[in-house]
């Protein structure tokens, strides 16, 4: 597994190519990229600042990825999360999973995103015409994470 937290942008194509690395067992590659949107909850966003808890973030992400590997047969995982100052349109996060079959790749990728959203200590502060404020956690993110049952299915 490869987990990185960084200020720098990432090259999506290069990351996906590296993750595949010509392994002929791989039949499926599922990836998710999150971007800074220009509108959030009706306000236009001019800048996004991402703060994190160094050390705990890496630990939390490693635990989430391990949980996914225990539930599904996956070949490889790559997680990148950016921190610092970002602009609308910037890439924020990448989760990519390879596996023999598509079911495991889809499920593990979405599972990792759902848990990252509720368990990994990152916080967003967005700047709008009304000033800068910390983004509130979404109830929908909590319910997305709790729908995963211990046997790896979704409720």
């Amino acid at each position: 597994m490869s987990i990185r937290i960084q200020e720098a942008d990432f090259d999506l194509a290069a990351e996906l190519a590296e993750l595949r690395a010509g392994d002929p067992r791989i039949g499926a590659l599922t990836s998710f990229v999150g971007f800074v949107r220009d509108i959030n909850d009706g306000n236009s966003v001019s800048e996004m600042m991402l703060e994190h808890y160094p050390g705990m973030c890496e630990k939390a992400l490693a635990e989430i990825v391990s949980a996914a590997k225990a539930r599904w047969e996956i070949v490889g995982v790559r997680v990148i999360h950016r921190v610092g100052r970002l602009q609308p349109g910037d890439q924020v996060v990448l989760v990519a999973v390879t596996s023999a079959h598509r079911g495991a790749a889809f499920a593990a990728c979405e599972f990792i995103m759902d848990y990252l959203k509720t368990r990994a200590p990152f916080w967003k502060r967005e700047t709008t015409p009304n000033g800068a404020h910390w983004v509130d956690a979404r109830e929908s993110d909590d319910s997305a994470a709790t729908r995963w049952t211990p046997d790896g299915h979704r409720q």
Binding site: M56, K117, W123, W134, D136
Partner: protein, 82 residues
Amino acid sequence: MSVRILYFAGLREAFGCPGENLDLPAAVSNVGALRALLVAQGRDLLASAKNLRCAVNQEMAAADTPVADGDEVAFFPPVTGG
């Protein structure tokens, strides 16, 4: 007994500092008691913050999670990454 306290996001900003070192009286042996002590020392936001989260040594913790000498105890709002 001494612990390292960390604050993140809105808490860090409101307190104007990323954390503090604290000598704990023997009676303060878990997260709930530590939080009450900090509130008593003027960190009011730790009482009023909505859905305050806490981690001890970088693992999510609850009010009854023990706190021991040398621990790193972090307080922060619900996470919003991704």
